[in-house]
C-alpha cells in the first residue's frame, strides 16, 4: 500500500485548501482537524451504504435461491429493505450516529456487540505487531541510512521491500510451516489453548485482551501459553509494517543528515556517529508518528488476513467468517466501524504530530 513517508507536509497538503491564511494557533488546528473528521466519516458511511445497496438487499444475497419468493419478500419487508432507498439511508445514518450499526443476519447479534467481543483481540494483535515493527524497523532503518549505498544498506532495503512484497498471509503460512509444523516449537493457530481460554474467560472482569487477563491470573503457565500463541501472528503482521518503518526512517535520516545544521555540527568537529545519533536521528523520527497513523489502515487490512491465517478470533477473522456466510449487514457494520476507527486514529496522530512539530499548522 502506498504510504506517505514525508508525512506532515503531505497530510497537511489537502486540508490546507481550507485555510484562509497561513499560520495559526494549535487550538485552531485541532478544531479544524476535528471538524474534518465529520465529512470523512460521512463520506465513508455513505460510500459503503450506497455500494452495498447497489447490489440489492442483504437478505436476498444471504438467502437468495434458498427461500421461496413469497417468504423472501416477507422477510425483506420485515427488515424494511423494500422502503425507498433514501428512507433506508436516513434510517441507517440515524442509527450510525446513535451507535446502532444493525443486527447481523447469520447469528442475530448486534454489530456493536460483535465489535466489543472481538475488537479486543484485534487491538491486542495490532499492539504486538506495532512493537515488532518498532523494534525491527527503526534500528534497521537507521543502520541502512548510516551505511547508505553500501552493502548493509542494500541488504536492509531489499529486506524492507521483501517485507512489503510478501503478502501477510503467505508470510504467515511460511512461518507456520517452519515453526509450527517442521520445528514444532510454536502453536499452529488460535489465541491460546482451549484450557487456557476457559481459565481466562472465567476470570472476573475479563477484558478480552488475553495479555492483561493472563497477567491478572498470576499464573506463569497461562501467560506463557498466551505469549507463545501471539509470537507468529505478531511477527507476521509486524514485519509488514517494519518494512515501511525501515524505509521511512532511512529516507528521513538521509535527508536530515544532509541538513544545514548537521553540516554546521560536522564543521565543528562532531563525530559522524554522534551526528547520526544526536543530530540527524531525532528529527527524523517525527514523521514516524504520522506514518504510524497511516499504518493503522494497513494494519487493519493486514489484521483481516493475519487473523484468518492464524484463526486469531478477532474482528478480521469474524469479518471473513461473515463474508463467507454472505452476511452483508455484518460486513457493512464492521467495515463502517473500522473506517471510523481509522478516521479517529488519523486525527489523534495528526494532533500528536502537530504537538511535536510546530510547523504543522493550518
Amino acid at each position: 500500500m502506498t504510504t506517505t513517508s514525508d508525512a506532515p507536509a503531505a497530510r497537511a497538503g489537502a486540508p490546507r485548501a481550507w485555510a484562509k491564511k497561513p499560520g495559526g494557533s494549535l487550538g485552531r488546528y485541532i478544531a479544524v482537524r476535528a471538524l474534518l473528521i465529520v465529512p470523512t466519516v460521512f463520506i465513508l458511511v455513505t460510500t459503503v451504504f450506497v455500494l452495498m445497496r447497489l447490489t440489492g438487499d442483504p437478505i436476498t444475497a444471504a438467502q437468495g435461491g434458498r427461500l421461496p419468493a413469497d417468504q423472501l419478500a416477507e422477510r425483506i419487508h420485515e427488515a424494511g429493505y423494500d422502503r425507498p432507498i433514501l428512507v433506508q439511508y436516513l434510517d441507517y445514518l440515524g442509527g450510525v450516529f446513535s451507535g446502532d450499526f444493525g443486527t447481523t443476519l447469520s447469528d442475530r447479534r448486534e454489530v456493536t456487540e460483535v465489535i466489543a467481543t472481538f475488537g479486543a483481540a484485534t487491538l491486542e494483535l495490532a499492539f504486538y505487531a506495532l512493537i515488532v515493527a518498532f523494534l525491527v524497523g527503526i534500528p534497521l532503518g537507521r543502520l541502512a541510512a548510516f551505511h547508505r549505498d553500501r552493502w548493509p544498506d542494500a541488504i536492509f532495503r531489499v529486506g524492507g521491500i521483501l517485507a512489503y512484497a510478501t503478502p501477510v498471509f503467505f508470510a504467515g503460512l511460511l512461518l507456520k510451516l517452519i515453526f509450527s509444523v517442521w520445528l514444532d516449537v510454536l502453536p499452529v493457530a488460535g489465541r491460546a489453548d482451549t484450557r487456557t481460554e476457559l481459565t481466562l474467560s472465567r476470570g472476573d472482569g475479563a477484558t478480552g485482551i488475553y495479555l492483561i487477563d493472563a497477567i491478572r491470573t498470576g499464573d506463569p503457565a497461562v501467560l506463557g501459553n498466551v505469549l507463545q500463541h501471539a509470537i507468529l501472528p505478531a511477527v507476521t503482521l509486524g514485519l509488514l509494517t517494519a518494512g515501511v518503518f525501515l524505509r521511512v526512517v532511512r529516507t528521513n535520516v538521509i535527508s536530515t543528515f544532509g541538513a544545514g545544521y548537521v553540516d554546521a555540527a560536522r564543521s565543528r568537529g562532531v563525530s559522524e556517529r554522534r551526528l547520526l545519533r544526536k543530530h540527524a536521528y531525532r528529527p527524523a523520527l517525527i514523521p514516524i508518528v504520522t506514518v504510524v497513523g497511516l499504518q493503522i489502515a494497513l494494519l487493519l487490512g493486514g489484521a483481516v488476513l493475519t487473523e484468518t491465517t492464524f484463526e486469531w478470533k478477532g474482528l478480521g477473522f469474524q469479518l471473513s467468517q461473515y463474508l463467507q456466510a454472505r452476511d452483508f449487514v455484518a460486513v457493512q457494520g464492521i467495515v463502517v466501524v473500522l473506517a471510523v476507527i481509522v478516521a479517529v486514529t488519523n486525527f489523534i496522530v495528526d494532533i500528536i504530530a502537530a504537538l511535536l512539530d510546530p510547523r504543522v499548522r493550518y
Partner: protein, 338 residues
C-alpha cells in the same frame, strides 16, 4: 505519452523513454536493483504472455492421459511442483495465474490512470469548490483500509464469486477505486505547479480554450511522476488481488487460475505438512511484487536528485539544466514512495 514535450531534443527519443533513461543514469547498487527488478518484471510478462506454451496442463485440468492427477501429490517428474488438494497441477496454475494477475494489473492501472488523471487535471486546473470536494473525497478514500474497500466493491461487482472476466473486472475495479485518489493527488499537484508557468499564461493570452490548454499545455507537462506510481500500483494490485482471493473473493478455480485462491486452499494443507501448495504460488506473488517494487523504487530514487547517486565525473543532473524536467516537488515524489 510520458516524455515531456519540452525535453531537450539533443538525446534520441529512445533514450528519453522513462525506464531507459533511468537505466542510463543509474550506477552501482541502484543500477543493480533496477536491473533485478526489470528482469523479474520481464520474466513475469513473458510467463503471462506465453502461458499456453509454458504450462504443461490446463489450469482446471484434473486428468492427464494416464488418468486423474490425484490430490496433494508431492512434486514429481510428472508434476514438477506437485498437485493441489483439488487435484490441479500446481505448476500449471502458477503459470496461468500470472496471466490473471497481468490482466488485473492492466485493467486496474489503465482505468485508474484515465479517471484519476482526468479528475486531477480538472481539480488542479479549475480549483475552487470542485477541487475541494474532490480532494476531501479522495482523502477519505485514501485513509480507508484498501482491502476492506476492495472487499465491499468485490461484493458489489460480482456478488462474491465469479467467472474469469467477472472476477478479473471485480478485482481490477476494486483496485481502481483505491488508486484513483493517488493519481488525482499527484496529477493535481503537478497541474497546480505547471499552470502558473509562463507558457500556460501565454497560451491563455493567445486565446486557447480551456480544453486545449489543459490537454496540450498542462497535461503533457504533468505526467512525469506517473511511471513511478504506475509500477508501485501494479505491485499493490497484485497484493490486493491475492488478498481478495485469499478471503474467498477470488475467481472460481475452473474459470481462471489465481494465486490468492490457491493460497486460501493451502492453509489447511500447511497444518498437515503439505508445503508445495502454499510455497510456490506464494513465491510467485513475492517475486512479481518484488520485481515491480524494485523498478518503482529505483525510478523514484533516480527521479529525485537528492536521492540519486551520481557516477564520478558525471555532468550535473540534467534536470538542473533542463527547464522542462525540473526536480519533483518534495511532496509529490515522497508520496509515491510506498
Amino acid at each position: 505519452m510520458t516524455t515531456p514535450a519540452t525535453a531537450s531534443s539533443r538525446r534520441p527519443l529512445w533514450a528519453r523513454v522513462p525506464v531507459v533513461s533511468h537505466l542510463r543514469q543509474s550506477v552501482g547498487l541502484q543500477r543493480g536493483m533496477l536491473v533485478v527488478g526489470l528482469v523479474l518484471t520481464g520474466l513475469f510478462l513473458l510467463t503471462a504472455l506465453l502461458a499456453p506454451v509454458l504450462a504443461p496442463y490446463g489450469f482446471a485440468q484434473l486428468r492427464g492421459p494416464d488418468g486423474a492427477f490425484g490430490a496433494t501429490q508431492p512434486p514429481s517428474a510428472e508434476h514438477l511442483l506437485g498437485t493441489t488438494q483439488g487435484g490441479f497441477d500446481v505448476l500449471s496454475r502458477l503459470i496461468w495465474g500470472s496471466r490473471t494477475a497481468l490482466l488485473v494489473i492492466v485493467v486496474a492501472v489503465v482505468a485508474s490512470i484515465l479517471i484519476g488523471v482526468a479528475l486531477g487535471l480538472v481539480a488542479g486546473y479549475f480549483g475552487g469548490w470542485l477541487d475541494r470536494v474532490l480532494v476531501v473525497i479522495a482523502d477519505a478514500i485514501y485513509a480507508f483500509p484498501s482491502l476492506l474497500l476492495a472487499i465491499v466493491l468485490a461484493i458489489v461487482i460480482s456478488g462474491g464469486q465469479s467467472s474469469m472476466w467477472g472476477g478479473i473486472l471485480a478485482a481490477a475495479l476494486s483496485i481502481t477505486v483505491i488508486f484513483i485518489p493517488q493519481y488525482l493527488r499527484v496529477t493535481r499537484a503537478e497541474v497546480i505547479r505547471v499552470k502558473s508557468e509562463a507558457f500556460v499564461e501565454s497560451a491563455r493570452v493567445v486565446g486557447a480554450s480551456h480544453v486545449r490548454i489543459m490537454t496540450r499545455h498542462v497535461l503533457r507537462n504533468s505526467t512525469r511522476t506517473l511511471p513511478l506510481i504506475l509500477t508501485l500500483n501494479a505491485s499493490e494490485a497484485i497484493l490486493t488481488l491475492a488478498g481478495l482471493g485469499f478471503l474467498g473473493f477470488g475467481i472460481e478455480p475452473t474459470a481462471a487460475a489465481e494465486w490468492g485462491y490457491d493460497l486460501n486452499k493451502a492453509v489447511a494443507d500447511v497444518s498437515s505438512g503439505v508445503w508445495w501448495t502454499a510455497v510456490f504460488p506464494g513465491t510467485a506473488i513475492v517475486l512479481v511484487v518484488l520485481g515491480l517494487t524494485l523498478v518503482g523504487e529505483s525510478l523514484n530514487d533516480l527521479s529525485d536528485p537528492r536521492l540519486r547517486k551520481r557516477a564520478a565525473g558525471e555532468e550535473p543532473a540534467e534536470e538542473l539544466l533542463d527547464p522542462g524536467v525540473d526536480p519533483a516537488p518534495a511532496v509529490v515524489s515522497k508520496e509515491t514512495v510506498a
